[in-house]
């Protein structure tokens, strides 16, 4: 099946948000999937693989929408001024757009790393509004905003250590002073940090539509899920039509070079196609 790619901007509360749609060219989409990407450097690392995933899904009749949240990629705004609540609004706007696709196909959300946190929050909002969601896919999700901030701080500290460069001031001190912290060129402001501290995947997941199928993928050399994921795995596997799987492959979000996991692309594609109905 041939596909059509369309890029452009939408306005969300005065912010120009850039996105790309990957559409089946010859027929109305059988489903719409919104892809919510990782944060900062992880987004850059995962970029190529997520584009490949979008294209592969489009060839299977699924309309896929990727976008840059404000302050990232080609969207308006500065990273250091971005806020999690703005990103929530922007995702809600993308969801509204997906609901208007020809034939009004069933909606699915997929989030990678911090994108999974955001996608799960959006799924909970859909449920609160009485809306429908066919599936929610969590790709190596971060369990909380706190985990994201801790990873950012650790990665920056490792970089400082390896480069022998000057140490950055402690991020907590910068945020207390209302200043952004710099994580490898990706600035995080105090408002973003404060809003991230409240983000909890498990809480959001519990509030998602009960008939929404869940796919949880861990991508690691490990053979099992980590102990910290125990409750998450239990919540996913208790849901009808859902699956939790460990994929033995390199972290696609955490390599110096781009890394594209064919196994992840195929696992997500199979899950999505099996839930189109």
């Amino acid at each position: 099946m041939s596909i059509l790619e369309q890029s452009g901007f939408i306005d969300v509360s005065g912010r120009a948000i850039y996105g790309t749609h990957y559409l089946p060219a010859d027929a109305p989409p059988r489903a719409a999937l919104l892809l919510v990407e990782p944060f900062g450097e992880e987004k850059r690392c995962a970029f190529r693989m997520l584009v490949r995933l979008a294209r592969q899904l489009a060839t299977r009749g699924v309309a896929v929408m990727r976008y840059d949240a404000s302050g990232t990629g080609d969207s308006a705004g500065k990273h250091g001024e971005a806020e999690w609540r703005h990103w929530q609004d922007e995702l809600a706007a993308q969801i509204a757009l997906a609901r208007e696709l020809p034939g009004k196909p069933p909606l699915m959300l997929a989030g990678a790393r911090a994108g999974a946190l955001l996608a799960a929050e959006a799924a909970a909002r859909i449920a609160a509004a009485g809306g429908a969601l066919r599936a929610l896919i969590l790709l190596e999700p971060l369990l909380s905003g706190d985990e994201l901030l801790r990873d950012l701080e650790r990665r920056q500290k490792i970089k400082d250590m390896m480069s022998g460069g000057a140490k950055n001031a402690a991020s907590a001190e910068l945020w207390s002073a209302g200043q952004p912290a710099d994580f490898g060129g990706f600035l995080v402001g105090s408002a973003m940090a404060e809003q991230l501290w409240a983000a909890q995947l498990q809480t959001s997941l519990a509030a998602t539509p009960v008939d929404c199928a869940l796919q949880l993928l861990r991508v690691s050399g490990a053979k099992n899920f980590p102990p910290a994921w125990q409750d998450l795995v239990a919540a996913v596997t208790a849901r009808a039509g859902s699956s939790a799987q460990v994929i033995a492959d390199k972290p696609f979000w955490g390599q110096l070079d781009y890394y594209e996991s064919d196994v992840v692309i195929d696992a997500v594609t199979d899950f999505v196609v099996s839930h189109i109905g």
Partner: protein, 81 residues
């Protein structure tokens, strides 16, 4: 006991970081960077060590002296267990 931990750590490094070498090829005192462990992989390794050895790395543990080799990491893990 330390030898067992060192061996476990070497296996963890190869498994989690997808290094194309055998665990036995990692020398205990050789710097991890010699095996291609970069900043991304170091973070992955810290997360893996926390998971497997049930320890918590504090920001103060992230130093060149601590994250240098299997020997220095073994010492840190033992001090936390």
């Amino acid at each position: 006991m330390a030898e067992g931990l060192e061996q476990q750590l070497k296996e963890l490094i190869v498994e989690r970081l997808f290094l194309d070498i055998a665990p036995a090829e990692i020398a205990t005192d050789v710097e991890l960077s010699e095996y291609g462990v970069d900043s991304f992989l170091l973070l992955e390794l810290i997360v893996a060590m926390e998971e497997i050895f049930e320890v918590k790395f504090e920001p103060s543990d992230i130093t060149a002296d601590v994250l240098k080799s299997v020997a220095t990491l073994t010492e840190l893990i033992r001090s936390k267990q």
